[in-house]
Amino acid sequence: MKGENIHVKLGRKEILHGVDFDAEPGKVTAIIGPNGSGKSTLLKALSGELESYGAISLNGHSISELKPWQLAAMRGVLPQSSTVAFPFTVLEIVRLGLANGLAAADDSLPAKALAHVDLAGFEHRSYQNLSGGEQQRVQLARVLTQVWDATYHDQPRWLLLDEPVASLDIAHQFTVLGVARKFATQGGGVVVVMHDLNLTALFADYVYVMSEGSVWGSGTPTAILNDQTMLQVYGIDLPISTLPKAQVPFILPQAMRQT
């Protein structure tokens, strides 16, 4: 997945100022940055939801030239939150992914997808009566059903996730990011907008740091999650620590220096 010189305007205001973006299949690419830095806007441009200027391509095809159903066969998108207008059951919602993806024949996928997100047995519950975190996982199951196989005809498929763990407890944060990791391991591509820097450090292979509508920098978590990033992008003087064993960077708010 490639994006070159992406500009996005909402009304008269330009939100993204020429972003270059490159995500590889088989890897989890995270987009981080402060509130309002354009993370979600970038994801929406990449998914084709927002009109953008510049070139965005998926598996070598320009997304503006793909029909909605062709795009849907290549990538699934999990929005930040989804409200459902009518009293659908969990199964009926997950099945919508089935009806719209290419795996339409396999009626057992929704149940498998629900098991993946730790919601086995929730099939006949009413979606509207679930908690926010449960609803978010139902939506992820729907997206997984849409792009069940991480590759299709030797082409990678893509998961675009907008803050998938924002409303989840710590155990299910691992469940969901584990699903994303597995999808990448199987050859698919994952682009995920994240707020939690520790989970980003733990799960991402490559990180884009957004600041004020532009890419401030990018690199592996070890390379990009450093004291300078914290100071220049987030505006806080917070040294990054690393675990001596695994060399995984972690951000310890208690280490904040008083100014």
């Binding site: 939801e49 909605p68 062709q70 795009l71 459902v84 207008a85 009518f86 009926e92 047995g121 509207q128």
Partner: protein, 358 residues
């Protein structure tokens, strides 16, 4: 298998609503056949019609009077009842899907009011038209004008609420209320210009009625309603997707903008044609989809078809009540549907209150 309990405590684990919906389709077909037969048999004329109908089916000769009652009064009325009932119910389902709100209805976005303005203009201003035009449009003047009024409302509404190919549902809803109010106000001005006979026509038409059913009217409405209702059946997948928001629908591969255009045209066609031939028959578009969602869930695949069937049956029932309750006179059918439907509407409101913050 684990037994899941829904919030009402019902055991729903073994229940797949798709299977139920298929059974409901068959039951509704049977119901429609039954109500159709009842509708032909019931009326202000004497009971020999029933025997005549049996004779007709058996291939025996029937009297000229019976033939007239059956062929010129009962059957066109039956045909129009089925068409209008199906049109109103399907319009309701499509509007509700489009607006993501179970209370949306063609009446709410001003489509019915626009069609009404067209009809009222025709009734009152028709007399001023040159004789040549009157001769050309003949009896269908009101019908044509109502249809044009409904159509114009939708087009205006669409212009106001669409920017750069994107329709904002909120703007559309509010613009619909404004357009509906404007149509109502202009209609009110026109009513002041009406004479006694016109006022009587207006009142009758305004409350909705199948009493004026003729084969001509049925034939005017049939192609538009059939095309609209048939087209709507293909919107099921799009409406299901849009229930989760337009962005999600687009992510799932649904051509959202095109689907919305088709949905709007289908609603304009079905509602415009229905209002043209039968006036303001309310609440069918709210009650029918709501009852079916309670029974088989919100999946539009069966909801659209089942709504057409139940809408037709329900309107035939309301028509029978309207013919019987003050026989040999008859009550405008719109009064019957309002008396039956308005409490259901309030009930939906009360049930939603608290659960959805409405």
């Amino acid at each position: 298998m684990t037994l899941a309990m829904d919030h009402d405590g019902l055991n729903v684990a073994a229940l797949d609503r798709r299977v139920t919906a298929r059974r409901v389709t068959l039951a509704l077909l049977a119901l429609l056949v039954f109500t159709s037969i009842c509708s032909i048999s019931v009326g202000a004329s004497d009971a020999s019609v029933r025997a005549a109908f049996a004779d007709l089916i058996a291939g025996r000769d029937i009297s000229d009077l019976d033939r007239i009652v059956l062929w010129d009064i009962r059957l066109p009325r039956l045909a129009m009842g089925i068409l209008v009932g199906a049109a109103l119910a399907v319009s309701g389902v499509v509007m509700q899907g489009l607006f993501r709100n179970p209370l949306a209805d063609p009446g709410i976005v001003g489509v019915s009011a626009g069609a009404g303005l067209g009809a009222i203009s025709a009734i009152i201003l028709g007399a001023y038209l040159p004789a040549s035009i009157l001769a050309w449009v003949g009896n269908s003047l009101v019908a044509v004008a109502a249809f044009l009024g409904g159509w114009t409302s939708v087009l205006l509404l669409y212009r106001v609420s669409t920017r750069g190919g994107q329709t904002s549902v909120a703007t559309m809803l509010l613009a619909g209320i404004a357009l509906g109010a404007l149509s109502g106000a202009v209609s009110g001005v026109l009513v002041y210009m009406a004479d006694d006979q016109q006022l009587r026509d207006l009142t009758f038409w305004g409350m909705g009625s199948l009493a004026g059913a003729t084969w001509t009217k049925a034939a005017t409405a049939a192609p538009i309603i059939l095309i609209s209702v048939f087209t709507a059946q293909f919107l099921a997948r799009a409406l299901n997707g849009m229930a989760m928001g337009e962005a999600v629908a687009q992510h799932m591969g649904i051509p959202v903008q095109r689907s919305k255009n088709i949905a709007i045209l289908a609603v304009a066609g079905a509602t415009g044609a229905a209002v043209a031939v039968s006036g303001g028959i309310g609440f069918i578009g709210i009650v029918v989809p709501h009852l079916l969602r309670l029974a088989t869930g919100p999946d539009h695949h069966r909801l659209l078809m089942n709504s057409a069937l139940l809408g037709a049956s329900l309107l035939l029932c309301a028509d029978m009540i309207s013919r019987l309750i003050v026989a040999p006179a008859e009550l405008p059918i719109g009064i019957v549907t309002a008396i039956l439907g308005a409490p259901v509407f309030l009930w939906i409101l009360l049930r939603r209150h608290g659960t959805m913050g409405m």
